[in-house]
């Protein structure tokens, strides 16, 4: 339909478990033919709706762009419900409708020391961020995860200033991870902090960034129906008390814009 190419039906190229335990733990790399997207900003996302959804589930599912090349769009998907379950069972040749790139990505300041804070599946957008960063020596990663490290695309982060991983097996590990986050954020007063992960993690990052007056961005994973600003379902409260749309005004926000609270 003319030049309206932001929404396309594309083929699945591959669906591969990540690492030896990926299939058992539900961690997959889903690679689709590039729907014709021009370069995306890391942190932007796509909406995906495989033909297999038919009429149920009704909504598409949002995923961060994990890697975008001229040929392929790769997503890192963790199975957590019926939609992701169906997606990770697709086979090459199946079709999905994809639209994007959507929303606002992460700030890129090549000369500024930048730390990426990732929690679990929140590692996905940082693969693209690190790949596109012109000065990887200014870039570090702190990654908190529950599943075995081999289930995540952690190998993609070689060549950075540093890349540390912390596995959380119990409450003590979580406390130690939060303590490490605090040290890291406190040490980045002149830098830039970027975070993506579960909401409680982002709330903690936001609190610490405020405490140490560090410039920080967080990427929210609010529930979305349309991804394009049409439903007003994905909103988040900002500091002025009004609602901003996560899909178009986010998913990446500066911490000081938001009144982040625990409930989603």
């Amino acid at each position: 339909m003319g030049n309206y190419d932001a929404c396309r039906d594309v083929s699945i190229l591959s669906v591969e478990p990540v690492g030896p335990e990926g299939a058992a733990k539900g961690c997959y790399m889903l690679t689709l033919a590039n729907p014709g997207f021009s370069p995306a900003v890391a942190g932007q996302f796509v909406m995906v709706r495989p033909r297999a959804f038919q009429q149920n589930p009704v909504w598409p599912r949002p995923f961060s762009i994990c890697r975008l090349t001229a040929e392929a769009l790769t997503l890192f998907v963790q199975v957590c419900g019926r939609g992701t379950e169906i997606l990770c069972r697709l086979v090459p040749g199946d079709t999905a409708t994809v639209w994007g790139p959507l929303g606002q990505g992460f700030a890129l300041e090549p000369e500024v020391p930048t730390v990426m804070l990732a929690g679990g599946v929140g590692i996905a957008p940082f693969v693209e961020y690190a790949a596109g960063h012109p000065s990887p020596e200014h870039l570090s990663l702190v990654f908190g995860h529950r599943l075995p490290l081999s289930c995540y695309p952690f190998d993609a982060f070689s060549g950075l200033k540093s890349a540390e991983a912390f596995q959380e097996k119990g409450p003590d590990d979580l406390a130690a991870f939060i303590a490490h986050l605090e040290t890291t954020i406190a040490g980045h007063a002149d830098g830039l902090v970027l975070a993506c992960g579960p909401r409680p993690f982002l709330v903690t990052v936001a609190r610490l960034a405020r405490k140490y007056s560090v410039r920080a961005q967080v990427s929210l994973e609010n529930r979305m129906a349309c991804g394009v600003g049409g439903c007003l379902g994905c909103v988040e409260k900002n500091v002025l008390g009004s609602y901003v749309q996560t899909c178009t005004q986010g998913p990446v926000f500066w911490v000081e814009e938001l009144a982040l609270s625990e409930e989603s």
């Binding site: 339909m1 003319g2 309206y4 932001a6 929404c7 709706r49 009429q55 149920n56 589930p57 009704v58 909504w59 598409p60 409708t97 639209w99 609010n222 529930r223 129906a225 349309c226 991804g227 394009v228 600003g229 049409g230 439903c231 007003l232 379902g233 994905c234 909103v235 988040e236 409260k237 008390g241 009004s242 609602y243 178009t248 409930e263 989603s264």
Partner: protein, 305 residues
């Protein structure tokens, strides 16, 4: 065979019967990347109130089998911003733009109708009478025939030469009674239906899935209810009916026209893919040709019961 998919509604002509439903297509502009807005039969804007409204707390949406629940709570930019910043950017010369009105008492509805009727580029006013927070004893306008009639009359008085559509709620015992009252009150057309009241809970967190607890059910799940309502209303009143509820393909469009609808609106299906309404509008003539339908007038209400 060349087919004619155009339709006439009071005061306007549509290229095709495929419009978008209020609240599911933003202000239209959000979807301009995904198709030519001028190819649609019409665009119904997000429900507007006199003043901007923040809406309900999160979570506001939940997925259900073949459908969804929403409790957005009238978040909108207000009529002034709509007329200043949104409407001028829409192709209103080529595609009718319909304003959807939301207010909490009759005076406010009338005032809103006054402002919108004066605006160039607004083709019709669609009155949403299922606001659950009305002042008068807490009874929604849409559930009481007498009130629905009075409200329609009040809006009609201030609407100038703009057609007034009244959007009916299915959450009533007898939708026909409300439809008749709205037509007696002067409605030029009826939009049928708004969402069904519904609820969803999480057995693990023991919490409702919407902060508002209760919300409006929409999507393919409600199509049989919408079809029944449209059929009943079409048989009872002579005013044209615009069907909405679970429509997600060109075949669905014809189902509603078969039971008597003049035109349709695509709602939740716009979330299934943002080019959905465009695709349905594009596909309809081919489907008509396949079925040997030359024009919709001929096919409308030709159901054999």
């Amino acid at each position: 065979m060349s087919v004619d998919a155009s339709v006439r509604l009071p005061g306007m002509e549509l290229k095709n019967p495929v419009m978008t439903a209020s609240g599911t297509f933003g202000y239209g502009l959000e979807f301009a990347r995904y198709g030519d807005l001028r190819s649609l039969g019409g665009i119904v804007a997000k429900g507007l109130s006199l003043k901007p409204r923040a809406g309900n707390p999160m979570p506001r949406i939940a997925e259900t089998p073949c459908g969804m629940l929403n409790a957005i709570g009238l978040q909108n930019c207000g009529v002034e911003v709509f007329l200043r910043d949104k409407l001028p950017r829409l192709p209103y010369d080529e595609t009718p733009i319909i304003a959807n009105l939301y207010a909490c008492d009759a005076d406010e509805f009338a005032e809103l109708a006054g402002v919108l009727s004066a605006a160039e580029g607004v083709a019709a006013l669609e009155v949403n009478i299922s606001c659950p927070n009305v002042k008068a004893g807490g009874i929604a306008f849409g559930q009481d025939p007498a009130m629905a009639g009075k409200l329609t009359e009040a809006v009609k008085k201030r609407a100038g030469d703009k057609p007034v559509w009244v959007k009916l709620s299915p959450n009533v015992t007898d939708i026909v009674a409300i439809a008749r009252a709205a037509v007696l009150g002067g409605a030029d057309a009826l939009t049928c239906i708004n969402t069904l009241t519904g609820m969803s809970v999480d057995i693990r967190t023991r919490k409702p899935r919407l902060a508002n607890v209760i919300g409006g059910l929409s999507g393919p799940a409600i199509k049989p209810v919408a079809l029944r309502c449209v059929w009943q209303v079409c048989r009872a009143v002579s005013a044209p009916v615009i069907a909405v509820g679970g429509i997600s393909c060109a075949e669905d469009v014809l189902e509603f026209i078969l039971v008597g609808a003049h035109a349709v609106q695509i709602g939740t299906a716009n979330f299934m893919r943002p080019d959905m309404a465009f695709r349905i509008a594009e596909r309809l003539p081919a489907l008509m040709e396949e079925l040997g339908i030359e024009n919709l007038e001929e096919y409308r209400c030709s159901i054999q019961v």
